[in-house]
C-alpha cells in the first residue's frame, strides 16, 4: 500500500480553532456573491447614469405623460381605431394582440391535433401529407411566412369580388353580395357580427349566478352517480343549467340594475380615503406579509424537538423578505404619486362599473349589425361595424396558426407515441374499443406528457404575434412604435411592452402549471 504510515505526533487532536476569514468557505461564498452583485449594480448604475446624461443632452424626457396626451394615430383595426390618447391607443393594441393570440392558440391546437393524428394514421398518403405539412412549415421563418400570406392576400381585388356590380365600376362603395351581408376584398373579409350592448353587464351577473348554480348541479349529479352507479351526465346538466340561466337572463337582467349604486358607494368610499392612510395601510400589509413569511419559514425549519436549523441560504431568504418589505415602504412613502394613482384608479374602476350598470332598463345585452364599408380606400373604416378579418389580422393569424400547428403536431405525436404499447394492449384486453381506449387511456396520458411543451408553444405563439408589425396589423408593438416615433418616448413605451408580455407569459405559465399540478395529483 502506498499510504505513508509515518509516526504520528503525540498531539494529534487539534483543539477547535477559529477559522480565518479568508479561508472560511461560508465567508468566501458570500463574499463572492456580494462582490458580483456589487459589480452588476455598479455596471447598471454606470449605464443608467450615462443614459440619463445622454437623454438630458438630447433634451429627451422620459415619463408616461403620453398616456393621457392626445396622439395622432390611426389603427388598422380594433375596438377603437381613432384613439384619443396614447394610453387608449396602447390599450387597443393590447386587445388586438390578445385577440389574434387567443384565436391563434385555439386554432393551432385544433390543427396541430389533426396533424398529429394524420401523421399517425395508417393511411400512407395521409401520413405523408402530415409530414410534409410539418417539415415545410417549421423550417421556414415565421416572419417570412407572415409576409408571404399578406402579399398573397394583397392580390385579391380591391372591392368585394363577390359583388357582381363591382367588376364593372371602378370603386363601388357600400356594396357587397347578399345585400351587404358579406365583403371579401384585399382589405379583408367582413361579416355581420353580434356585439355586446348596454345591458350586457347586468346579464353577466345572471350568468355568474348561473355558473354557481351549475357548479352545484354538477356536484349533485356526480354524487348521484357515485350513489347509484347510473350514468348521470353531470357536465351536460351543468351546461344545461347555465344555458337556462343565460336564456332567462335575457329577459330579467334589468333586475340587477341595483348593483350600480353599490359600485358607486364603493367608489365614494375609496374617494374618502386620504393618501397617508393608503400609505400606512400598504406599509402595514407589507410588514405583516414579510413577518408572516419569516415566521412560517422558521416554524417550517424547526424540528420536532425544537431544534432550529437554518442554513445560510435560509438566512438570505429571511433577509430578502425583510428587505423587500422595507423597499415597498420606501417606495410608497417616497413616491406619493403611486398612492394617489392607486386610489384614483380604484375609484375610476368602480365609477366605471357604476355607469355600466346604470343603464336604461330596456337595454338589450346583445345587438347585431351588418358590415358597413364606408370608405373602401381606408383600412381603418373597412367593415368597422362588422365582424371583420383584415388582411393584417389574417396574415398574422394564418402565420402563427400554421407555424405553431406544425410544432404542436409534433408535440402531440410525441406524447401519443410515448404512451407504452402495453397500455393499448391492456385497454383492449379489458374490452375497451378503439375509440374508448383512445379517449380514456391514451389521450389522458399523452396529454400529461405533452402539456409542458404545449405551454411553451402557447407562450411563444403569443410572443410571435409581435411580428404583426411587419404587415401593419396594429398590435401593441406596432402601436407603441408609432407612439414613440411621434413622441420620442421610447423607454416608457418599451417598458409598457415588456410589462404586457411578461404579464401574458406569467398568465399562461400559471394556467399551464395549474393543469400540470392537477394532472399530477390525479396521477396519485
Amino acid at each position: 500500500m502506498t499510504a505513508p504510515v509515518e509516526q504520528p505526533p503525540s498531539t494529534r487532536l487539534a483543539v477547535a480553532q477559529r477559522v480565518p476569514l479568508w479561508r472560511d468557505v461560508v465567508v468566501l461564498k458570500w463574499f463572492t456573491q456580494v462582490s458580483l452583485l456589487a459589480v452588476v449594480l455598479a455596471a447598471l448604475w454606470l449605464f443608467v447614469g450615462q443614459a440619463g446624461n445622454n437623454l438630458r443632452a438630447k433634451d429627451i424626457t422620459i415619463g408616461f405623460d403620453f398616456i393621457d396626451r392626445p396622439v395622432d394615430i390611426q389603427l388598422s383595426e380594433g375596438i377603437d381605431t381613432l384613439p384619443n390618447s396614447g394610453g387608449r391607443a396602447l390599450w387597443v393594441g393590447m386587445v388586438n394582440t390578445l385577440r389574434v393570440a387567443s384565436v391563434g392558440i385555439v386554432f393551432s391546437t385544433i390543427l396541430g391535433i389533426f396533424v398529429a393524428l394524420s401523421r399517425l394514421s395508417n393511411n400512407w398518403m395521409l401520413r405523408k401529407v402530415g409530414a410534409m405539412w410539418v417539415e415545410s412549415l417549421r423550417n421556414v421563418p415565421l416572419l417570412v411566412q407572415i409576409i408571404f400570406y399578406s402579399s398573397i392576400l394583397a392580390t385579391l381585388p380591391r372591392t368585394s369580388f363577390l359583388d357582381p356590380t363591382a367588376a364593372a365600376g371602378p370603386l363601388n362603395q357600400n356594396q357587397g353580395p347578399i345585400h351587404n351581408w358579406l365583403h371579401i376584398s384585399n382589405k379583408g373579409v367582413s361579416l355581420p357580427r353580434v356585439f355586446i350592448a348596454d345591458g350586457f353587464y347586468q346579464w353577466a351577473i345572471v350568468i355568474l349566478l348561473g355558473a354557481i348554480a351549475a357548479h352545484f348541479v354538477r356536484k349533485k349529479r356526480l354524487k348521484q352517480h357515485d350513489d347509484t352507479g347510473r350514468e348521470t351526465s353531470p357536465i351536460l346538466w351543468a351546461a344545461g343549467t347555465l344555458a337556462i340561466f343565460g336564456f332567462v337572463g335575457l329577459f330579467i337582467h334589468p333586475v340587477f340594475s341595483f348593483v350600480g349604486p353599490i359600485m358607486g358607494g364603493i367608489a365614494s368610499l375609496i374617494d374618502s380615503l386620504t393618501i397617508p392612510m393608503t400609505q400606512a395601510v400598504i406599509s402595514i400589509v407589507a410588514v405583516l406579509l414579510a413577518l408572516r413569511w419569516i415566521r412560517k419559514f422558521r416554524t417550517d425549519r424547526r424540528s420536532g424537538s425544537g431544534h432550529l436549523n437554518l442554513s445560510d441560504d435560509d438566512w438570505f431568504r429571511m433577509i430578502f423578505a425583510g428587505l423587500a418589505s422595507a423597499l415597498v415602504i420606501v417606495v410608497i412613502y417616497k413616491w406619493t404619486g403611486l398612492s394617489s394613482w392607486l386610489l384614483n384608479s380604484g375609484q375610476d374602476l368602480f365609477r366605471l362599473a357604476e355607469t355600466k350598470f346604470n343603464v336604461d332598463g330596456a337595454a338589450r345585452p346583445f345587438d347585431a349589425m351588418r358590415p358597413d364599408v364606408l370608405k373602401p380606400g381606408n383600412f381603418a373604416n373597412y367593415g368597422k361595424n362588422g365582424l371583420t378579418m383584415t388582411r393584417g389580422f389574417a396574415a398574422v393569424f394564418f402565420g402563427v396558426t400554421f407555424y405553431h400547428s406544425a410544432h404542436i403536431g409534433e408535440i402531440v405525436r410525441g406524447g401519443i407515441l410515448s404512451v407504452p404499447k402495453g397500455q393499448v394492449e391492456a385497454a383492449s384486453a379489458v374490452g375497451l374499443n378503439r375509440a374508448q381506449s383512445l379517449r380514456r387511456v391514451i389521450l389522458p396520458q399523452a396529454f400529461r406528457i405533452s402539456l409542458p411543451p404545449l405551454g411553451n408553444q402557447y407562450l411563444s405563439l403569443t410572443k410571435n404575434t409581435s411580428l404583426a408589425i411587419a404587415v401593419g396589423y396594429s398590435d401593441i408593438v406596432q402601436v407603441g412604435q408609432t407612439i414613440y416615433n411621434q413622441t420620442g418616448k421610447a423607454l416608457p413605451v418599451m417598458s409598457v411592452w415588456m410589462l404586457f408580455y411578461l404579464a401574458c407569459s406569467l398568465t399562461i405559465s400559471v394556467v399551464v402549471n395549474f393543469f400540470n399540478m392537477r394532472l399530477k395529483l390525479v396521477e396519485r
Partner: protein, 602 residues
C-alpha cells in the same frame, strides 16, 4: 406495428412506422386501401394534393411570374453591395471553408454507403414525381417536353441502378460520390445556360444595368475551381489520414474550424487600404506586454503550494481591472486587466506540474492574441467605399449575425445555467431574473430596444454600428434559451457524480470543469442544434429593424426596382426555399449524426 386495426383517421398507436418489405400490391393494400374509409381518405387526399400542386405549379410557372427578378439579383441576395473588385476575398474565404470541409470529410470518414437498390428506388420515385409535376404545370409545349425528358432520364437512371443491384446485391455508392456528382452536374450547367444578368448597386436603391455578362458566365470559373478544391482537399485528407496520428490531426482540424470563421469574416470586411500605424505602435506592444507579464503571473499563480495568497493576488488584479473604470484609460487595457484577474482566479483550479502550468500560460497567450486581434479588428472599421451604411448584406449579413449570435450566446448561456443551478442564492436570483425576463418578452422588442436604446446607454463619443447593437441583442436573447437547454443537461447529471467528484477532493470549479460540464454539454447537444437552427431563422427579424438581410432584399429591395415592380411573391418564395433548404438539411444531418453517435443518451 401493432395488430390493432383502425379505420382511417384514427391513429394506430405504434412505434415509428418501420415498414417490412412487402410486395408492391400488398403494400398498397395495407397502406392505402385497407378498408372503405381508408380508400376514401386516400382518394380525397390525392385529389387535394393534386389540386394543390396544380395551383402551386400554376402560380410558379404562370406566364406573369418574374423569376428573372431572382436570377438577376442573385448577387444582391448573396452579398448585397459588396464591391465587385473585392470578390476574390469572398471566393478565397469560401475556398478555405471548402478545404476544411474536404479534409474533415476524409479524416472523420464522413459519408455513408448507399446500396444501388435504394438509389434505384429514389430515382424512380423522383422520376415519377417529376413527370406528374410537369404534367400538372402550365408549361409551354417545348418546356414540357424538356422536363419530361429529364424525368425520363431519372427513370432510366433508376432502371440502370436496378440492373446493377440485380447483378450484385452488395454494390453500393458512397454518398460523397453522389454529392460531388450532383454538384458537378449543377456546375456544368453554368457553362451552358446563361442564368440571369448582373445587377449592381448604383445609388442607395440598386439598379439593373445592361451589362453583357451573366451571373452564370461570370461565376462558372470560380465555381468550377471550388469543386476541384473540395475534391482535392478530400484526397489530401485521405493521404493525411493514413500518415498522421488520428487524434492529433482531428484536434488540429477542430482548432482550424473554430478560428477560421473569425479570421474569414475579418478577411471579408477588412479595409484593403488599411494603415498599420495604430496597430504597430499601440495595439501590438500592449498585447505583447500583457502576454509576457500575464504569462509570468499565471505561471507563478498556478504553483500548487501557493495557497490563499494566489487568491488574494487574483482579487487585487481584478479590483485593479474594475477600478480602472474610474480613471480614463484605454478600453483594451481594462478588458485585459479584468481577463487577467479572472484567469488568475481560476489558476488554482488548473495548477499542477511544470507542463500543466506552462500549458495554462500558453492558453492565456492564445486568448490574449485572439482577443487583441478581435478588438483591433472592431476598432478599425472597414472603409470599403459603397453608398449606404453597410456594404454587405443579404445572405452574408444573415450568416454573420447568426454566427456571432451563436458564438457569443453559448458561453454566456453556460455561465447563466451554472449560476442558475449553483448553491449561491444571489447568483441564482440574478440568473433566474435575467433568464425569465428575456424569455417572457418577444425577440422583436429586445431588438428594437437594442437598436434604439443601446446608443443612449453608451458613453459619449462611443458609437456602435446598428448591426453590432442588434447582434448584442440577439446574443443576450439567445443566451437565455441556451441557458435553459444547458440547465436541462446539468440537471441530468446525477447527484452521485457531484459526490464522487467531491470525495476525490476536487474543488467546486474543478468538479464543474472536469466532471459536470462535459456530461451536461453532451446531453444538451440535440436541443442546442435545434436552437442554432432557430437562431438562423430568427435572423429574418433584421428585416423589421431595417437592416439589409436576406428577407429585406427579397421583400423591399428587389420589388422596388423599376424592372421588377410587383415581384414580391417570387422573391419571398425564393427566400422561403433558401431558408427551408438550409434549416431542413441542417436538422436532418444533425439527426443522422445524433443517431450514429448516440448523443442525448446516457
Amino acid at each position: 406495428m401493432t395488430e390493432i386495426q383502425s379505420s382511417a383517421g384514427v391513429p394506430v398507436i405504434a412505434a415509428p412506422p418501420q415498414e417490412p418489405h412487402l410486395p408492391p400490391k400488398e403494400w398498397l393494400k395495407k397502406n392505402l386501401f385497407s378498408n372503405v374509409g381508408n380508400t376514401l381518405i386516400t382518394i380525397m387526399t390525392s385529389v387535394v394534393i393534386l389540386s394543390l400542386a396544380n395551383g402551386l405549379l400554376g402560380f410558379a410557372f404562370g406566364s406573369e411570374r418574374q423569376w428573372n427578378a431572382v436570377a438577376v439579383n442573385s448577387r444582391l441576395y448573396m452579398s448585397f453591395a459588396y464591391p465587385e473588385a473585392q470578390y476574390n476575398r469572398i471566393w478565397f474565404s469560401f475556398a478555405t471553408l471548402l478545404v476544411l470541409a474536404g479534409l474533415s470529410m476524409a479524416i472523420w470518414r464522413g459519408g455513408t454507403r448507399m446500396p444501388f437498390a435504394r438509389l434505384a428506388k429514389s430515382a424512380y420515385s423522383f422520376g415519377v414525381g417529376l413527370a406528374i409535376m410537369v404534367w400538372l404545370a402550365p408549361l409551354s409545349t417545348s418546356g414540357t417536353v424538356k422536363w419530361e425528358i429529364a424525368a425520363g432520364g431519372l427513370l432510366l437512371a433508376g432502371f440502370i441502378f436496378n440492373r446493377i443491384a440485380a447483378q450484385d446485391e452488395e454494390r453500393s455508392l458512397s454518398s460523397l460520390t453522389l454529392l460531388v456528382g450532383t454538384l458537378a452536374s449543377i456546375i456544368a450547367t453554368l457553362w451552358f445556360i446563361p442564368y440571369g444578368r448582373h445587377s449592381f448597386i448604383g445609388d442607395r436603391i440598386p439598379q439593373v444595368v445592361s451589362e453583357p455578362g451573366t451571373v452564370a458566365f461570370s461565376t462558372k470559373l470560380p465555381w468550377t475551381i471550388m469543386l476541384f478544391v473540395l475534391v482535392g482537399a478530400y484526397y489530401l485528407g485521405i493521404v493525411l489520414r493514413d500518415r498522421l496520428p488520428e487524434r492529433r490531426t482531428r484536434s488540429v482540424l477542430m482548432g482550424f474550424w473554430l478560428i477560421s470563421p473569425i479570421f474569414l469574416i475579418y478577411l471579408v470586411l477588412r479595409d484593403p487600404a488599411f494603415t498599420m500605424n495604430h496597430v504597430l505602435y499601440t495595439d501590438i506592444p500592449l498585447v505583447l506586454g500583457f502576454l509576457v507579464v500575464g504569462s509570468l503571473i499565471l505561471y507563478a499563480l498556478t504553483k500548487p503550494s501557493l495557497g490563499e495568497i494566489g487568491r488574494i493576488i487574483a482579487m487585487l488584479i481584478l479590483l485593479a481591472g474594475f477600478g480602472s473604470f474610474l480613471t480614463p484609460m484605454r478600453m483594451i487595457i481594462r478588458i485585459f486587466l479584468i481577463a487577467l484577474g479572472l484567469f488568475s482566479l481560476a489558476a488554482p483550479t488548473f495548477s499542477g506540474d511544470k507542463s500543466t502550468r506552462r500549458r495554462y500560460s500558453s492558453i492565456w497567450s492564445g486568448f490574449i492574441v485572439i482577443a487583441g486581434w478581435l478588438i483591433t479588428a472592431v476598432n478599425t472599421p472597414s472603409t470599403v467605399e459603397v453608398p449606404g451604411d453597410l456594404f454587405f448584406g443579404g445572405a452574408t449579413l444573415t450568416l454573420i449575425v447568426a454566427f456571432f449570435t451563436v458564438i457569443l450566446s453559448y458561453p454566456l448561456g453556460v455561465l447563466l445555467a451554472l449560476a442558475r443551478t449553483s448553491n449561491m442564492p444571489i447568483f441564482r436570483l440574478l440568473a433566474t431574473t435575467f433568464i425569465e425576463f428575456v424569455r417572457g418578452v418577444p425577440l422583436i422588442t429586445i431588438l428594437i430596444f437594442f437598436s434604439v436604446m443601446l446608443p443612449l446607454f453608451l458613453p459619449e463619443g462611443m458609437r456602435l454600428p446598428e448591426v453590432t447593437s442588434v447582434t448584442i441583442g440577439y446574443a443576450l436573447f439567445s443566451a437565455a434559451y441556451v441557458a435553459e437547454n444547458i440547465r436541462g443537461g446539468l440537471q441530468s447529471v446525477t447527484r452521485g457524480q457531484h459526490e464522487a467528484a467531491e470525495a476525490v477532493g476536487m474543488s467546486t470549479s474543478q468538479k464543474t470543469v472536469f466532471i459536470i460540464l462535459p456530461q451536461a454539454l453532451r446531453m444538451s447537444i440535440p436541443p442546442m442544434v435545434g436552437h442554432t437552427i432557430g437562431t438562423l431563422k430568427e435572423t429574418s427579424l433584421l428585416y423589421i429593424i431595417g437592416l439589409f438581410d436576406l428577407l429585406y432584399v427579397g421583400r423591399s429591395v428587389i420589388p422596388n426596382q423599376t424592372a421588377f415592380i410587383g415581384s414580391t411573391r417570387e422573391n419571398l418564395l425564393f427566400v422561403s426555399v433558401l431558408y427551408w433548404v438550409i434549416s431542413y438539411s441542417m436538422s436532418k444531418a444533425s439527426q443522422r449524426i445524433e443517431k450514429r453517435v448516440g448523443l442525448g443518451e446516457r
